[in-house]
Symmetry: C2
Subunit: 248 residues, 2 copies
DNA sequence: CGCGCCTTTGAAGGAGCTCAATTTAGGTGG
DNA sequence: CCACCTAAATTGAGCTCCTTCAAAGGCGCG
């Protein structure tokens, strides 16, 4: 359908060694809660890895569904397009997170997944994963949790989009990013945004100018320091108060 | 936590006979694609049924998660609440649809499920379902499809909320309802709304007055006929054109 | 039959959008 | 290494769509 934008890395001893059992992300990813021998079983199902360069697609809406992906390194966005060109970013994914579950329902991907920086993913052929989850109860349960977590996350985005004002949405977005960076051992208070104002705006249901103005306002209020894509969170409780004025 | 608002129906011969194998909704619901003997296995997992009266909760955010539910008859909404009282309706569920998958991720429900009319659900204890999906490959695959479909549906709602104007949202909502009624053998063009303008508004990220005005506008344009909760769709292609002006 | 809830409709206000100009950063090639 | 070039970000001004506030009408339930 499209010429391959990524290349597979053959399974050599060194890449096998770097699969789930040796992966620093395993507690964030699919192997969570598995025993050592179970993780080794999972290793065998994780077929290969794939590098995706910045700007390239991991998959596109309409592509046949064969595998889900675990982000090994890098950063992705997923989006859906309307016929008239409007698009909606449905999520941003970072290391340890799972991509591609939208494709299971009709065996075709329904959204696009694009790398926002040079990235690497673990390819998990879905039929093999289903086989394995029939054998390993804890893996089955954890996989169900991962899918359910995606549903719960989506409900949170609906709340953002349906019930919050612009500055609340941006505050929630920043706090969410911060939380996820903490879980990965990065600084909670200082990070580099991988996405543009336009992409943030699409995700939050706002125009890029509105996002930019909200950033500037937070800067003026002393809640954060903004320099283009570089963000420093100065007043975490202040951001939370913005979200929920009377509590805190 | 809360006093039980619903009562279980004991498993008698007659209720067993009315389980999946005899259910008219089976092709819309969990048994989809299963063979007769497999459906009978599923029957045994579906523990009981529960009646939920209009206005009562099937479950609440914070309740422990034990089962998912298949809507046997009636109509539900799910919503999430913010601390300050704002709420977001995350979906409306009708016969054959599955409720409760939000609870899998943290073993606690994260949203509320409320009956919008007197309803009945099949209670499917989740541990038993997981057991069964380890044994029946086709059931496992279909259950994964059901969860994935929920994710895809959520992406559609994000598109609504993030990228569409008020009238486009309402048109998409009506067309979606119409499609789902068709699948259930009801009229595609004439139906009774089970939810209030306020609930539609919450779902679509609009105020109830805006929903009401959009309904009146569609009526003036001859696209639909509205009388309170009674809706007749007069011009289905016209509604589609509203959604996607240049196509159609 | 009456009360409360839901819906409809109007008028005014505001949050976020559109359009436009300027600044800044990052990548490229001389 | 610097000048150039393009994409991204910032900021302003006016406008629009949706909200808010308000009042009246209709339906259904007890």
């Amino acid at each position: 359908m499209h010429k391959p934008e990524t290349r597979s890395i053959p399974l050599t001893l060194s890449t096998i060694k770097a699969a789930c059992s040796q992966c620093s992300l395993r507690e964030l990813c699919l192997p969570f809660g598995l025993s050592e021998p179970e993780i080794e079983q999972l290793d065998s199902a994780v077929g290969s890895r794939r590098r995706v360069k910045r700007g390239q697609h991991l998959y596109r809406a309409g592509d046949g569904f064969e595998a889900i992906y675990a982000v090994k390194s890098g950063f992705f966005k997923t989006d859906v397009l309307l016929e008239d060109g409007r698009n909606q970013v449905t999520g941003f994914q970072m290391a340890g997170e799972i991509l591609g579950m939208d494709g299971i329902s009709v065996e075709t991907h329904t959204c696009n997944s694009v790398a926002l920086e040079d990235s690497e993913v673990c390819v998990i052929p879905f039929s093999q994963l289903e086989q394995l989850t029939r054998e390993i109860k804890s893996l089955q349960h954890h996989f169900h949790k991962v899918m359910s977590r995606e549903i719960v996350r989506d409900h949170g985005v609906m709340m953002l989009l349906g019930a919050m004002r612009a500055e609340e949405r941006l505050a929630a977005f920043l706090l969410n990013l911060s939380q996820r960076f903490i879980a990965r051992g990065y600084s909670a208070s200082e990070f580099h945004l991988r996405m543009t104002r336009d992409e943030i705006g699409s995700y939050l249901g706002l125009k890029l100018e509105t996002v930019s103005r909200a950033f500037s306002r937070f800067d003026e209020l002393g809640l954060i320091r903004v320099q283009q894509k570089h963000i420093v969170i100065l007043d975490n409780p202040g951001l939370k108060k913005l979200l929920n004025p009377q509590a805190c």
